[in-house]
């Protein structure tokens, strides 16, 4: 899972960064922010559901 979490983090940061670069130029920045956040939300939900106590 360590590689998956790194890919998720890089992808969502890329989307957030793209959102920042597009500030004031396009409404695409909102979509980029939403997409980045959606990736984070999905990965959070995944861990929340599948966690096991040892």
């Amino acid at each position: 899972m360590s590689y998956t979490s790194k890919i998720i983090a890089a992808l969502s940061l890329f989307c957030m960064g793209a959102g920042l670069c597009l500030y004031g130029k396009s409404t695409l920045n909102v979509f980029a922010l939403c997409f980045g956040l959606a990736i984070q939300a999905c990965s959070f939900a995944y861990y929340l559901i599948n966690i096991r106590n040892s």
Binding site: L20, Y46, L48, S54
Partner: protein, 306 residues
């Protein structure tokens, strides 16, 4: 247990509470209309690193930025330490990386609010959208920090696709509904700040008037959704998620139950008192605590691996 992980565990708890404080201060920025306190400059404040002769609004906004900067440094340290102390693939490592990303995105969203001038008296749809994204990001950040604080003190693992379908759906529904209540609450608070009602009756009429601003119309959704979600959370805290114990056996379930009831009472008080700043802050603080308790309850009620 090695003292370093114990220190990490304590630091994670302290950092979680510190972030709740930062979030509450952020609500104060919005409620007092101080978002433009530093002009449309970011990261500088009115073109300066440290504002000279600041007004009250500048001080409020500047303190929030400083608190956020400390939070960024804190989460970076947490991430570095998590890599040093926990094995690859550990839930703590994932939580710390996620918290770091969410803190960075929180800063980007905050910058967007300032740079796009979605502050002070702006009542555009874009502001409502940004505020919703901001709030979702905040809640996910608190969720990631809660996960670190919880997982740092015990052995855990994840097992893909093994959760019973009933548990999956009940957990997802509770989380999604709580997030939705948070977002509608943020929009309702923005409506209350921009279009304050003079009396409860006048405010109620405004909510259902065809000519009202969309922020006022959206305000009505919050209490309806909040009551429905509260009923679900009370049920879950008493009965537990599928295959888990309810509040009778779980301290987080009891905390969740108590917070839901208290939050409902404060919500009614906030509504009838026409949303003064202090009650708005208390309402948000309880919303943060309710979310954190829900996450802890879900985590604590997770099945034991075979």
């Amino acid at each position: 247990m090695n003292p370093a992980p114990i220190r990490f565990h304590r630091a994670a708890w302290a950092f979680l509470f510190y972030n709740i404080l930062v979030i509450s201060w952020g609500a104060l920025v919005r409620a007092t209309g101080s978002g433009a306190g530093c002009g449309n400059h970011w990261p500088l404040c009115n073109g300066q690193w440290i504002p000279s002769a600041p007004q009250r609004q500048t001080i409020i906004e500047f303190i929030h930025r400083m608190m956020s900067a400390v939070s960024l440094v804190g989460v970076m340290l947490l991430w570095i330490e998590s890599r040093r102390l926990f094995r690859p693939g550990s839930l703590v490592r994932w939580g710390a990386l996620s918290a770091l990303v969410l803190t960075l995105s929180e800063a980007l969203i905050g910058a967007g609010l300032v740079l796009l001038k979605l502050v002070a008296q702006d009542s555009s749809g874009l502001r409502a959208l940004y505020l919703s994204i901001h709030l979702l990001n905040t809640f996910l950040l608190l969720g990631a920090l809660s996960l670190i604080a919880w997982a740092a003190g015990r052995e855990t693992k994840t097992a893909a696709g093994c959760a019973p379908a009933m548990r999956r759906s009940s957990v997802l529904l509770a989380v999604a509904a709580t997030l939705a209540v948070g977002v509608t609450g943020g929009i309702a608070a923005l409506g209350d700040t921009l279009f304050p009602a003079r009396t409860f009756g006048a405010g109620f009429q405004q909510d259902f008037s065809a000519t009202s601003h969309f922020l006022i119309k959206l305000r009505a959704f919050h209490p309806i959704l909040a009551i429905l979600t509260a009923l679900m959370l009370v049920y879950r805290s008493l009965k537990g998620f599928y295959g888990s114990a309810g509040s009778v056996d779980n301290v987080w379930g009891t905390a969740l139950l108590a917070t839901v009831i208290l939050q409902l009472l404060v919500g009614v008080w906030n509504l009838t008192a026409l949303a003064p700043v202090t009650l708005q802050l208390l309402h948000l603080l309880l919303a943060d605590l309710l979310w954190v308790f829900l996450i802890f309850f879900i985590l604590d009620s997770a099945p034991t691996s075979a």
